[in-house]
C-alpha cells in the first residue's frame, strides 16, 4: 500500500519531527540541506522512509551537470540514505543564466538522450534509483514525441521511474486544454513510482502551482484516477506557502490515506495493459 507522507519544510519541522501518526513517509528537498541540517536528515532517516527530491540538477541542460550542485546533492543523499531520489524533467539553467526555476524541455529525440544520460549519471553517482517528475509550464514545446511518449521512452532508456505530479498534470491540462485522463492513459503505469499532490491556485483564469492551497475537489478525482491506474508506492503532500495548522494537514493526509486504501492498485495484480484507462 502506498505510503502517504509530506514534503519536509522548515515551517513544518516541529510537527514532522514529533512523529505524528498520519505521516508515513517524508520527502526532503535536497537544496534545503546543502549548507546545514545533517542532524535533521539523520533524525528523519531514522524515523521515516525518506526520499530526496532535487530542484536544481537541471537534467535538460546539454553538457555536463553542474558539478557543485551534483556534489552537494550526492552529499545529502549519502547522509539521508533515501529509498530513491528524484528531480524534474526540466531545465533550470543554461550556460549563461541560472533561471532558478523549472522550465520545459522540447520532447525530442535529442533532448531524450540529454536527459537520459544525465539521469544515468546522477543515479550512478548517488547509487540510488532516480525518478523524474513532470512539471507545469505555460509554454508548450512541441517535439517529435508527445509528453507521455517522451516519459515512457525516458524511463526505458535510463532505467528511471516517474514521479507523477498529479497537480502539475491537472494544471497543464487546464491551461493547455487537454484531457488529463487521456494523457495519463498514455503513460506506462509500471513506471509510476510516486505521486506529488497539492492544491492548485487559480489566478485571473490561469492555473498555477504555488503549493499554497488544500487539494480541491476536481483534483481529488484525478488523484483517484492515478491511484487506480498505477502501482504507486509513495504519495507526498506538498505545501510551500500559506501553511495551515497541523490539524488541517493531518485531515488532508487522512483523506489521502483513505484514497490509497480505496483506490490502490499496487498489489501487483494485472498487467500494465489491464490498467489502461478507458479514453
Amino acid at each position: 500500500m502506498a505510503l502517504v507522507g509530506v514534503g519536509y519544510r522548515r515551517q513544518l519541522a516541529r510537527w514532522i519531527l514529533s512523529n505524528p501518526p498520519d505521516i508515513h513517509s517524508v520527502e526532503i528537498t535536497a537544496e534545503h540541506f546543502f549548507d546545514s541540517g545533517d542532524d535533521i536528515l539523520r533524525t528523519l532517516s531514522a524515523a521515516y522512509p525518506l526520499y530526496v527530491h532535487g530542484l536544481g540538477l537541471s537534467l535538460g541542460t546539454p553538457g555536463p551537470i553542474d558539478s557543485a550542485t551534483l556534489d552537494n546533492f550526492a552529499g545529502v543523499v549519502k547522509i539521508a540514505d533515501p529509498e530513491w531520489i528524484s528531480d524534474h524533467v526540466a531545465f533550470t539553467r543554461t550556460d549563461e543564466v541560472d533561471l532558478g526555476h523549472l522550465n520545459p524541455i522540447q520532447p525530442s529525440i535529442e533532448t531524450l538522450k540529454v536527459i537520459a544520460d544525465h539521469a544515468i549519471e546522477i543515479s550512478e553517482r548517488c547509487n540510488k534509483r532516480l525518478i523524474l517528475e513532470n512539471i507545469t509550464s505555460h509554454l508548450e514545446l512541441k517535439g517529435e514525441l508527445s509528453e507521455p511518449e517522451f516519459l515512457n521512452r525516458l524511463c526505458e532508456k535510463s532505467g528511471c521511474g516517474l514521479l507523477l505530479d498529479v497537480t502539475n498534470l491537472f494544471i497543464n491540462s487546464r491551461n493547455h486544454r487537454f484531457d488529463p485522463r487521456t494523457w495519463l492513459s498514455e503513460l506506462d503505469p509500471s513506471n509510476i513510482v510516486q505521486l506529488h499532490v497539492t492544491g492548485y491556485s487559480l489566478i485571473n483564469g490561469v492555473w498555477e502551482d504555488f503549493h499554497a492551497e488544500p487539494i480541491q475537489d476536481d483534483l481529488w478525482e484525478l488523484i483517484y484516477e492515478a491511484l487506480d491506474y498505477a502501482p504507486v508506492q509513495v504519495l507526498a503532500l506538498e505545501r510551500d506557502t500559506n501553511f495551515p495548522d497541523a490539524r488541517e494537514l493531518e485531515d488532508e493526509l487522512r483523506k489521502l490515506e483513505g484514497a490509497v486504501a480505496n483506490h490502490r492498485s499496487d498489489d501487483g495484480s494485472g498487467t500494465p495493459a489491464d490498467r489502461r484507462l478507458p479514453t
Binding site: 545533517d38 542532524d39 536544481g56 543554461t94 526555476h101 522550465n103 520545459p104 524541455i105
Partner: protein
C-alpha cells in the same frame, strides 16, 4: 542559450503569449518567494509593492540554491537605498539565515508580537536540528 538547439521552425512556432506567460511565471514565483520571506515589508509597500519588485527584479537575478534568501536581502537593500521603510526584523532574519552565523542579536523597533510591532531585542540562532529560530525580549509597557 546552450539549451538543445531548436530549429528556426520550432522557434517560429512558439506562441508569444505562452512565452510571455512562462516569463511571467518565473517572475511571479520570485515575487511569491519574496512575499513568503518578507510579508510585513511587502505589506508596508501597499499597492506599490509589485511595481517596486518589478523594478528591482529587472536589474538583478539571484543564482544558487540560496537565491530566494539573497533576493529578499538585496530587495531590502534596494528599498533602503531608495529611502523606503522596511521591516528591520525581517531583514535581520533573512540576512541571518543567509549568512549561516551561529547567532545574532539586534535592537529592532518592529518585532512582531501578536501582530503588533514592539521595540525589542531580537535573538536569532540555530537550534539543535539546524532550524533557524527567533525570539524577542521586549517590555510589556
Amino acid at each position: 542559450m546552450g539549451v538543445v538547439q531548436p530549429t528556426s521552425a520550432h522557434l517560429a512556432a512558439l506562441n508569444p503569449d505562452a512565452l510571455q506567460a512562462q516569463a511571467d511565471t518565473l517572475l511571479n514565483k520570485r515575487l511569491h518567494e519574496l512575499n513568503n520571506l518578507l510579508p510585513r515589508t511587502i505589506g508596508m509597500l501597499g499597492p506599490e509593492g509589485r511595481s517596486y519588485i518589478l523594478r528591482f527584479a529587472s536589474d538583478y537575478w539571484p543564482t544558487g540554491h540560496l537565491r530566494h534568501l539573497e533576493d529578499a536581502w538585496r530587495f531590502c537593500d534596494f528599498l533602503k537605498i531608495k529611502g523606503i521603510s522596511i521591516c528591520q526584523s525581517e531583514y535581520n532574519w533573512v540576512r541571518f539565515i543567509f549568512s549561516r552565523k551561529r547567532a545574532s542579536v539586534h535592537w529592532v523597533r518592529d518585532f512582531d508580537v501578536r501582530g503588533k510591532s514592539r521595540f525589542a531585542l531580537q535573538f536569532l540562532y540555530w537550534n539543535r536540528n539546524g532550524v533557524p529560530q527567533e525570539f524577542g525580549l521586549y517590555s510589556r509597557l
